[in-house]
Symmetry: none
Subunit: 224 residues, 4 copies
């Protein structure tokens, strides 16, 4: 997903002046756009700066994208598809052992939240959601709903299997996802230092509380 850096080797091709394959350009431009959009916001970002960051002239950008808005849409597009797939796949894989799956997911998600690159598009979507509700909706349906839905299904499976008692699976799912969202918001949008710096420990603590509750007479199962 990060733009492939040009190889530094001097092979046959590099004898003739390197000609950038057109295929790479759009991605480079999108990356530049993403950076600028995040730093300044969609409206305040200037096409000129995006172009410069992509090492292109202002007019050059228009060879690949029709407008500034098209950049935004393409940006969301580019991220939506693979993520949706991955998320669904991951979720489905865990129906056999819901508890193990939860642990896995929590750690995985915490890692994701820690990676600024992966958080970039979500941040962008959130910042422009008021101005372009359709984009926000698309993202909600394709990414967020799928993620929460998958999580809910996972817990529902656990209930069906008898691993969990009968609770509102949606509520439980949100108790797992919520803290992650909060962490993401806190770090990447509000600019705070990590609330939970020790990812593994925090994930374990969260799962422990989720499984065993806060009751003093609970007999918490230690994280393996």
């Amino acid at each position: 997903m990060p733009p492939k850096s040009r190889p530094a080797t001097l092979d046959v091709e590099s004898v003739t002046r390197w000609r950038r394959r057109a295929g790479e350009r759009p991605d480079e431009i999108l990356n530049a756009a993403l950076d600028e959009f995040l730093a300044k916001g969609f409206d305040a970002a200037r096409m000129e700066d995006i172009a410069a960051r992509a090492k292109l002239s202002k007019a050059g950008v228009y060879l690949y994208f029709d407008s500034k808005l098209a950049l935004l849409q393409a940006l969301v597009d580019r991220e939506v598809k693979p993520i949706a797939h991955r998320a669904t796949a991951l979720m489905r894989a865990g129906h056999a052992d819901p508890i193990a799956a939860l642990r896995l997911l929590a750690t995985f998600a915490r890692g994701t939240v820690a990676d600024p690159r992966l958080m970039a598009v979500p941040r962008l979507v959130i910042s422009i959601a008021g101005r372009f509700p359709e984009i926000a909706e698309r993202y909600r349906l394709e990414v967020v709903e799928r993620a929460i839905g998958g999580l809910t299904a996972l817990i529902a499976a656990g209930i069906a299997k008898g691993d969990f008692r009968a609770v509102d699976a949606g509520v439980a799912a949100r108790m797992l996802a919520g803290p992650l969202i909060l962490e993401a918001l806190w770090r990447h949008i509000l600019g705070g230092a990590p609330l939970a710096p020790d990812i593994a420990a925090t994930a374990a603590a969260q799962i422990d509380i989720l499984l065993n509750g806060l009751r003093p007479d609970a007999r918490p199962e230690p994280t393996p």
Copy 2:
């Protein structure tokens, strides 16, 4: 900078409505600005529309606020102070009976999240956070940190009192707050229909899970 407010005496003259209402104007303008900022985003919002919404000429706004950015800052200012106080007060009130306090808080918070007016400024802050990090930071410190901190303290108090077992109080706090944030994001930013339409039931379910966990052998205490 705002002109001195007219005296509040109730003499004969004040029966007829003032045509010039200096004292109320700043608030009216801020409300108008909030609406426009939310609908279009900070940059895309036009001072002219804000003025019109406040039933003022474009130049009139500048009698009360120095610039567009000043509007944004005043907007955050206006909400930060009372909220911070309220949050702290509320939290402190609950140290005697942490469990009851949790229930109270959860319901209260769900109500807050459901109110678009109360969510307006948070939405705004989130949308401009990338462009004005200092504003985001201010909001984070004055509002979010205080809220999470209070919640953490509440749970820590419960642990000390023996009502809760010894867990990471911060993690537990975030498991309470996270789902609310998620709900807020979902509804007010991503434009989704409520995930948890039955506020009371959801709050109860959330507290139940938080207290008793998901283990099938838990004996959940019914919500009173």
Copy 3:
């Protein structure tokens, strides 16, 4: 011409709240306007600042002057009349002894050039001459032409009387006035330190050169 300061004595009148006599206001306003016009230029000067300097509200100025331009015109008016008279009178007085008159005039003029207050309106006129040619013309006719004319007449009288040889009186007049203009321009417009700090000596030297020339075989008459 400078605004009379309010007397600090506590006489009968000051028992009743001091009421500024309307008659003084216009002058105070004009003074304020002059200051602002000089500091910022006519266009960049703000009515609000002028009002503030005159200790009046913005609207208050309009009770006395119809517009910003009216201020400018009134300003020139106020200075044109007395100066024109004075200059003419002075000039006429010197026809008896042209050489003595020249000496007198030169010293007098150097004193004038040194006084920033007296130079204020000329500066103003020069700065707005391009924008309001009629004002410049008025000033030229009423002040400058009269001054140079008077000087020329004085020298012509000297020629007629046999005190001077037959030269172009206009040229000679300008050789007297020119250095003064140059000094004024240098000091008050270009902001330079005085070219001729020792006014008396300079005036004497100037007259000496004017009378006796630069020829090495001249026998300069010492300044008395």
Copy 4:
């Protein structure tokens, strides 16, 4: 900041006129700006009119100059450099025969004063001097001081050489320059008809008076 000028080669293509003439544009714009500034004054001049006069869109001007003020500064810059050089060179050339040099200079200067194009920047500088003292200072130091300094040096050289008697060289220099300044002010700023229409005769008269004085017993050397 101005874009690189197109290469000056004279190939087939350059027969057809360039529609985009980046290289010439800055100068065209400056000329337009000068005209507008002089006609209306710096503040009252509109960028739109300047652009129109330069046959450019409003925005086009900003491709070459950052702001209105930048135009003003560039304008002064453009004139300051060559003038300073020229003035110094001219002055130095005359040390051999100071009297001849004076005659030459006087005629040359009168010619300069008669040319509205050459007077444009001085006029502009004078009109904005109050508002932008740094620009005025720059002009004073680079142009006026140099000119007067050169003239003074010239006369001092004449004194050293024995061509002139020992007078204050600065005073004498100002008696030469002053009338020119006065003429310039009169014509180009106050809008008067030439005081000295016959340039040659006037210059001669001025030099005559300067050399021989007004004494009736002087034996003026005729202008050759």
